[in-house]
């Protein structure tokens, strides 16, 4: 069984700090252990839309990651899934749809109990005061979502809206496995708050090892981030280089791979703050899952070749 270590950080963007607006992103990792873990595990990251129309999107993003991890846990880890026989459509309908339903249930519950008339008036123009139609309420909590989970021999990624996923394979190849629509530019994004939002989930299943004629080399690292990170780089290739640079830091650490990952974990908040400040100005959230066995093997090969 492979050992993984997951590190993450989320920072408030310069623009939000200046406007005294809280970080709109959220992250949730299951299981919540800081040390090495064996799969299965689940990581979710969400980006609340921010802005006046989405006045509770920080709450919406925290619901998004919570609901995603809970649904995936219940449906897959605790259920009777056989990932050998599933496809994107089945995942979209059985996981994506449930996540959206759970999220809407949480949002409506919060809206009814925590966003009474007075609070809404305080936070928003009168046009948002009660009574309000269902979708106007969801919109206030609007958020994107990216979840990925490693289960048995499969990596499954679900994305709704913007944000980025990078996979670094053992052979140094960096891949963004999800194709971005040309329509999702200019801050246009899919959202959990849209009607039939689950239909917009972009899904990728990667079988680890040789399955069904498809072969992927071992995965070194998986990086998932909100769009504030990739938007901070002059070129997308510059963003893709992040995962290579981080692996290089880990591999070159004198005290070993795990110490290298721990060092990166300590530096992440400072890195992300500086990147946001020089770049997009937006909130940035980042999760990196490191395959410790794979990285240690690579380090051994390198050390052997250096000697």
């Amino acid at each position: 069984m492979q050992l993984w270590k997951i590190i993450h950080s989320s920072v408030c963007g310069k623009t939000h700090i200046l406007e005294n607006i809280p970080n709109q992103d959220a992250i949730a990792v299951f299981p919540k252990v800081p040390d090495l873990i064996n799969p299965p595990f689940i990581c979710s990251i969400a980006d609340g839309h921010g802005g006046k129309k989405y006045c509770f999107s920080d709450v919406g993003s925290s619901f998004a990651v919570k609901c995603a991890n809970s649904v995936i846990f219940e449906s897959v880890f605790n259920g009777e899934w056989n990932l050998d026989s599933i496809n994107n459509q089945i995942i979209r309908e059985s996981i994506g749809k449930k996540i959206v339903e759970e999220w809407k249930r949480e949002v409506m519950n919060h809206y009814i109990h925590n966003a009474p008339y007075s609070l809404i008036v305080e936070k928003q123009p009168v046009k948002y005061s009660l009574p309000i139609n269902e979708y106007s309420a969801y919109k206030m909590y609007g958020s994107t979502l990216i979840s990925f989970f490693l289960y048995n021999d499969f990596l499954v990624i679900l994305q709704l809206g913007d944000g980025d996923v990078l996979i670094l394979f053992d052979d140094d190849k960096v891949v963004n496995p999800l194709i971005k629509s040309d329509e999702l530019i200019a801050n246009v994004t899919f959202s959990l708050s849209l009607p039939a939002a689950w239909k917009n989930f972009n899904i990728k299943v990667i079988s680890l090892g040789n399955k069904n004629g498809e072969y992927y080399p071992p995965i070194s690292c998986i990086l998932v981030s909100t769009d504030g990170y990739s938007n901070s780089f002059s070129e997308y290739n510059g963003f893709m280089k992040v995962i290579l640079d981080i692996r290089e830091e880990v591999l070159s650490h004198p005290n070993g791979v795990i110490a290298g990952i721990d060092d990166i974990n300590e530096m992440l908040p400072e890195w992300l703050n500086e990147t946001s400040s020089q770049g997009s100005g937006d909130d940035i959230s980042l999760v990196i899952a490191c395959n410790v066995n794979c990285l240690e093997s690579l380090k051994k090969i390198r050390n052997g070749s250096y000697e």
Partner: protein
């Protein structure tokens, strides 16, 4: 501290002036455009300096008998110089749209850019197939998402300019005298740029192509002849 990854920079905001230089612009119309565009550069530099979130790049395109780039390369606003334009010829607006659409393709436009701002200034009616040019713009993702503003001088063909804007919430700015024209050009260079630097997230299918909300700006109300200053008289 060395940050992982490649070069970091704020997001680019591409701003395009598209200026009618047909024969009917001769005289104080083109003179006012030249003066206002020249005077507004320091204000654009100031706005860009106050918003480190974006790098503002300016370009300029003119059209009369045919169309031609005045400044083709994306030029950082602090290096942008206005080159005074002369007026002569017909109104080949469609040719300008075709040239513009080439620059809105991805690439050369990066996907991480902010919605570009396209400002069309015209006093006449197109003399070529402007609809074909418009289609070319709207066929590009950045053409559809751009913030499109139009300033009509005098008796310009307002319906054509509305087609260019393609957003019922953004009216054509109708300038019937030099003061109004100057005011609109300065507003576009400052207020619109500032709002474009800070666009909100937008969901597919929401009203307004760019997500930039300028429909409630006071200057738009002043474009209405009934609300303009009493000191301003129609001369065009």
């Amino acid at each position: 501290m060395t940050l992982p990854g490649g070069e970091i920079s704020s997001r680019p905001l591409h701003f395009f002036w598209i200026v009618d230089c047909s024969g009917s612009m001769v005289g104080d119309k083109i003179q006012t455009v030249n003066n206002a565009l020249d005077e507004t550069i320091p204000e654009m530099i100031k706005i860009a300096g106050e918003n480190a979130k974006a790098h503002l790049f300016v370009r300029a395109l003119k059209f009369s008998s045919g169309a031609e780039w005045v400044v083709k390369d994306p030029t950082p606003v602090d290096q942008f110089k206005w080159i005074p334009l002369d007026a002569d010829g017909v109104t080949d607006m469609g040719a300008a749209f075709e040239l513009l659409s080439e620059e809105l393709k991805m690439p050369p436009m990066p996907s991480r850019a902010l919605p570009p701002v396209l400002v069309l200034i015209s006093d006449g009616q197109p003399t070529d197939d402007y609809k074909c040019g418009l289609r070319s713009i709207f066929n590009e993702p950045w053409g559809k998402k751009a913030v499109r503003i139009a300033i009509a001088i005098g008796d310009a063909d307002v319906d054509t300019l509305k087609e260019f804007i393609a957003d019922p919430e953004i009216p054509v700015l109708e300038a019937r005298n030099p003061q109004a024209l100057t005011r609109f050009i300065k507003w576009v260079s400052t207020a619109v740029v500032e709002k474009s630097i800070n666009p909100p997230s937008k969901l597919p299918g929401e009203k307004g192509h760019s997500g930039i909300q300028i429909s409630n700006d006071p200057i738009l109300e002043k474009s209405d002849p009934e609300t303009k200053s009493s000191t301003e008289i129609d001369v065009w």
